[in-house]
């Protein structure tokens, strides 16, 4: 119980009043002088000790009345102690690599049981931590920071967390990186996540394979190639040069003489995949030459299309391994928030109970006063 008005306790000096009354009353004579007791001796006798006891009870009741009234005036309040609620700020790493939906879900979960709560999405984690430090300092009570991120190396360093208040807690919540299926990442040929490692494969600036069709004019040839490439099931990557020769091309004989037969398995696969449109396949340096036997342009496009996937070399040009912070490193950066002072919530005014007790005791005092032995003698004047 807390007392909002402790000066009222000075009123306890008023307890002296009923005590004085008690002491003074004992001195005054309360016996009634009577001519003779012979007629009274037949009646019942009241024990003298009961009188003294009832006087003490009355004194106790009066002292209690004064004490409770004083206590009520001291404005008592029930103290309700709760563990303090932590103010929490969540920084959601909004950089491109983070799966933002998972991050937002994780951030929302952090609001559970918090006092004041704030979630921000930022790309610059260092700057965001400074913001968070300012916010936590402005709030009373314990504070904590949660960072929801994929924690790529370099995004967050321990020095960034130094600006936080010493008693603020730090929690680092890892979320997965964005799914590799989304291909809207410029320049990245392949993206795979292997545990804590992500592997990105770039290709050289995507260029069309060095494809040409001999025996057709340039415009027709590019149209056919475009049509084939558009529908080809081609992974972007380094491609071998390839030349397709129309049957009625004037260079056919010369090219035949200049090239040599295919000798690698993938060449044979290509020839088989090319289908009925291909007559023969020969190699010239690092260039594949496919001699066509069809004159139909759509069949030519079809043959090119079929051949394209087998022209990819499948070799990564560049591989960059990006590392995120390990779990151990994350745990090292985390810390628990220092517990704040327990809250006192003045719930209900407890004074009403004290006043109720005072009223009940006043009633009891009146009853006791009237019924104790030797109460004020009331003599009715004899009716004349």
């Amino acid at each position: 119980m807390i007392w909002a008005n402790p000066w009222a306790w000075l009123g306890l000096t008023a307890i002296a009043v009923p005590i004085l009354v008690h002491l003074l009353a004992r001195q005054t004579a309360t016996a009634i002088p009577f001519p003779t007791l012979r007629f009274l001796r037949t009646a019942s006798i009241v024990d003298v000790r009961r009188r003294r006891l009832s006087d003490l009870v009355l004194l106790a009741v009066r002292v209690l009345i004064v004490a409770l009234a004083v206590a009520a005036l001291a404005q008592p309040f029930w103290r309700v102690s709760r563990p303090s609620r932590v103010n929490r700020i969540v920084i959601v790493d909004a950089s491109a690599s983070v799966a933002i939906d998972d991050a937002r879900r994780a951030a929302a979960a952090e609001a559970e049981g918090a006092g004041a709560f704030l979630a921000v999405e930022r790309r610059d984690l260092g700057g965001a931590v400074r913001e968070a430090a300012a916010w936590l300092s402005s709030r009373d009570g314990a504070g904590a920071l949660t960072i929801v991120s994929d924690f790529q190396r370099g995004a967050l360093q321990s020095v960034d967390l130094a600006g936080l208040p010493a008693e603020a807690g730090v929690r680092l919540q890892r979320v997965p990186m964005r799914d590799q299926a989304t291909a809207a990442l410029g320049g990245v040929a392949q993206w795979s996540v292997d545990g804590a490692r992500s592997i990105a494969t770039w290709s050289a600036p995507a260029s069309q394979p060095a494809l040409s069709i001999d025996g057709l004019d340039a415009a027709t040839a590019s149209a056919v190639i475009d049509a084939a490439a558009a529908t080809a099931d081609a992974s972007v990557g380094p491609m071998r040069a390839a030349r397709f020769v129309m049957p009625d091309s004037p260079n056919r004989q010369a090219l035949l003489a200049a090239s040599s037969p295919a000798d690698e398995p993938w060449m044979f696969e290509l020839f088989i995949a090319a289908g009925p449109g291909a007559d023969t396949l020969r190699v010239e340096g690092d260039r594949i030459t496919v001699f066509l036997k069809t004159r139909d342009l759509s069949e030519v496009a079809e043959t090119v299309r079929r051949a394209l996937p087998h022209l990819a070399t499948g070799a990564p040009v560049a591989e960059l391994e990006r590392l995120t912070l390990t779990d151990a490193e994350l745990r090292a950066l985390e810390r628990e928030p220092a517990p704040g002072a327990p809250e006192t919530e003045p719930a209900s005014w407890a004074g009403r109970w004290f006043w109720l007790a005072v009223l009940l005791l006043l009633a009891a005092e009146t009853v006791l006063r009237r019924t104790r032995p030797g109460a004020a003698a009331e003599v009715h004047a004899h009716a004349a």
Binding site: T30, P35, V46, R51, T371, P373, E378, H382
Partner: protein
Amino acid sequence: MLQPEIVAAIDDLEFAARRIVESARTGLHRSPLHGFTAEFNQHRAYRPGDDLRHLDWKLLARTDRLYTKQFRETTSLDAVIVLDASGSMNFPALGEPGESKAVAVSKFRYGVLMAAALAWLVSSQGDGVGLVTSEAAGTPGGELLIAPRRGRAHLRALLARLSKLTPHGRAAISSLTRRGADLLRKRGALIAISDFYDDEEAARREMANAVRRGHDVTMLQTVAPEEIELAWRGPQRFTDLETGDQIDVDATAARQEYRAAVAAFLERTRDLAGAHGIDYLLAQTSTPPDDLLRHHLLRRRALPAAAAARAGR
């Protein structure tokens, strides 16, 4: 009708006594011959203006003539008043907490008034009056004895002594009664004023003795309404005014039994008084003293034969 509290407040006892007597007499036919000790003597011719009550109707019937009875003043009969001045008479005491002054007429004060009135009455009839009472401790014997004598000066002196008395200690009304009887050398009137709480048996014996010796004995028992009714509520502590004993009683519970006991006592006292030939009078302090006196005089006059018999014995 004089209110007791008003009369009690009159400091001059002689004045109060005279007021009481004159007020009592206004109810009676004014006749100086109708006192305590008058008796029928002879007839005389009726004179217009005579009180018709004193007409001898039997004689009228027989003789067809109007005759007034004449009362003869007997040979003077002295009177001695015996007054109980013990502590029990000092109730209700003046200044009782909770009482207003106007109500506080103690039994003793009432007894003093009645004694004074009687003394005044007797003296005005030309008879001698005396007083026996107990004086404050310290005086030899502790008794005040004033032999009966006639005359104004004696009356004044007697009333002066009377007005200075204060109730105290214990009373032996029996010995006072004997003293009083001794003071009456020849036949006289003895009036004992007391509550007769203590020494009741012995006092009655002495009074009966006095009657046997030929005196006209009256017993005036003074009581206060408060002690008859016991109007207190709840548990109380009572102190005996004479002995100082204390007793704790629940007044509410005891009231009925107490009242019955007191009533029985008074009844018994009256009956026993009558059986011994003692004239009995119950004087409550709430009764106007003049009414009491008048009532008593009327009663005595109504029984002139009995009075004569008592006086003549």
